[in-house]
Subunit: 317 residues, 2 copies
DNA sequence: ATTCAACATGAGAAATATTCATGAAAAAAA
DNA sequence: TTTTTTTCATGAATATTTCTCATGTTGAAT
């Protein structure tokens, strides 16, 4: 490869490496294998005749050359994205209606900033939130009462398209000084006898119950609270334990308000999707909403990871 | 191809098409076949779902989408080049000495602006012009009295590397009202009996004599002048005819001062190379000087064309 | 010392880009 | 108008590049 064959691909690669702190993490984010990232980075370094990434450190460090190229990436990639957005508007029009319904309580944490960012670049799209609890949120789509539903239900339905958003880790929350404090990770049996504090939703919608406790035959007393802060309040005051997304509790963890423990050896990972009507999936303003949510979330939220490109999720061409 | 696979290659392509006014000309400039350009452009248009280039017109026109993408190209490509230059400096150092010798009289026309542009981006390189007429300019390199020689001699010598600059057309110049005025193109025999006005150099160095008149056995009276304006002055005042590079006479042609005619059916094309010592060819500040000359010349000079990548001209990696 | 996580590497497979050999259409020339 | 020339398009074959798979290496943590 020649120096004049530097491509946006390389800039995206370097940005991903720098941002995620390692080649393996970058590979996951780019939906490539670690090997591909390693090869490509080496190819780029060889072409330039300069090392870019110091692999020894963790998170990996950049050399002076790497920092210069990263500066280029930061300068050019947003320009490219803005141009592609303009082209999408030229193609599909600037306007549209996007009524967003959200199934999960904590999702407002990241949805609001994402919607703000989205409004900046798609000012002509009428963006609404469909409120209230829904027994079957996906039905809102076919009923045309919503255009996009954020759901953790990864099962596709006819007529709907699922666009993967991200995977996130659920952490078990304990008050400081709790009996389980010394354990590094918690197994289903450890929870026996505890009270579980949750949002007021049916157990079937609680990943922690459905995927961890129920399979192990553990049944806990439950107590409900509407708001994330209220749940944390209850945990902190030793009324029980809870399981919440890592991102939702990160600020409270920092202050030592509550403690977090991994659930199971690999952790308990849940997934979020944006469901849309199949014929809406290719619309530029819809696709870019999903893209914006992804980008903003990865920039903001700790403990989330990319989702493999789904069988159902045909990325709009 | 997906919309998110837009690469710098595509921006370079579009810039070349827009700048050169057609796919074929763009292909030549990019050192690709016309077919490759057509395929690549079609691939890009398909990926975006939008046409970019209106092929009917000549020079080809851009659609609104094409103009938006060209704006992106103009915004990002210079940033990329600046970054690559910085990386080259990081690798090889910022400084160096570059003594440039020029064989051809008219070359100063484009050399000065190119040197100005070069000085802006390589301020630490000591840039000098080696003046005076040289019997064997390439000898200056081995004698280390110059570091780069602009020559029209495309024959490689051991220890030297030839970097192709560009090809240019030589035009025959006539005073308005000359007997040859009505001919669209001039053949060697047409010149019989004319006086040829040239720079004061041996006939062997005059492409027009060496490659057109001499092979046809035509021998003309000669008259010499030092400066391009002086030659034009003599032609205009009917003292003879001349053959000069198209770019050197373009401004005078516009004013109808003299007339220009193509020499032979294909025209008389000459070539310019930058010769450097082989071990200097890979130095970043040397390679970028050549690149700057090319870029500036193509932006400024009419009637020039890219030179095929030469067997000798190993582009520095 | 062992294990684990992260990166490197060679070989083969897959995807992509380029060329070659034409064809079609439009402009220029006869 | 017909012919020629120029320019772009296209399908098939080829070349090149990129990616994955399988495995090796390294360094840090247990």
């Amino acid at each position: 490869m020649n120096i004049s064959h530097v491509e946006l691909r390389h800039l995206r690669l370097l940005a991903a490496v720098a941002d995620s702190g390692g080649l393996t993490a970058a590979a996951e984010r780019l939906h490539l294998t670690q090997s591909a990232v390693s090869h490509q980075l080496k190819g780029l370094e060889d072409a330039l005749g300069l090392p870019l990434v110091e692999r020894a450190a963790r998170p990996v460090g950049l050399t002076a050359a790497g920092r210069r190229l990263l500066a280029l990436a930061h300068a050019t990639l947003p320009q490219v994205e803005a141009a592609l957005r303009d082209l999408a508007k030229l193609k599909d029009g600037e306007a549209g209606e996007l009524r967003v319904a959200v199934e999960c309580h904590t999702c407002y944490d990241w949805l609001m900033p994402a919607m703000d960012a989205y409004r900046d670049v798609w000012p002509a799209v009428e963006l609404d939130l469909v409120g209230g609890f829904q027994a079957d949120p996906l039905a809102l789509l076919s009923e045309r009462r919503a255009d996009l539903v954020v759901t953790s239900d990864g099962v596709s339905r006819p007529g709907l398209t699922l666009l993967p958003l991200f995977g996130y880790e659920m952490l078990a929350l304990l008050p400081p000084g709790h009996a389980l404090e010394k354990k590094k990770l918690l197994l289903p049996a450890d929870f026996a006898g505890q009270t579980l504090i949750t949002y007021p939703v049916p157990e079937a919608r609680l990943d922690f119950v459905r995927r961890v406790l129920a399979p192990a035959g553990v049944k806990l007393a439950r107590r409900e609270a509407e708001l994330t802060v209220a749940i944390l309040q209850l945990v902190a005051s030793r009324r029980g334990v809870a399981a919440l997304p890592a991102w939702a509790v990160a600020p409270y963890l920092e202050r030592g308000y509550v403690l977090a423990r991994r659930i199971g050896p690999q952790g308990l990972w849940a997934e979020l999707y944006a469901a849309v009507r199949a014929d809406d999936a290719a619309r530029a303003y819809v696709a870019d909403f999903v893209e914006t949510v992804r980008r903003e979330s990865f920039a903001r939220l700790p403990g989330i990871r990319p989702l493999a490109l789904h069988q159902v999720a045909a990325v709009p061409r």
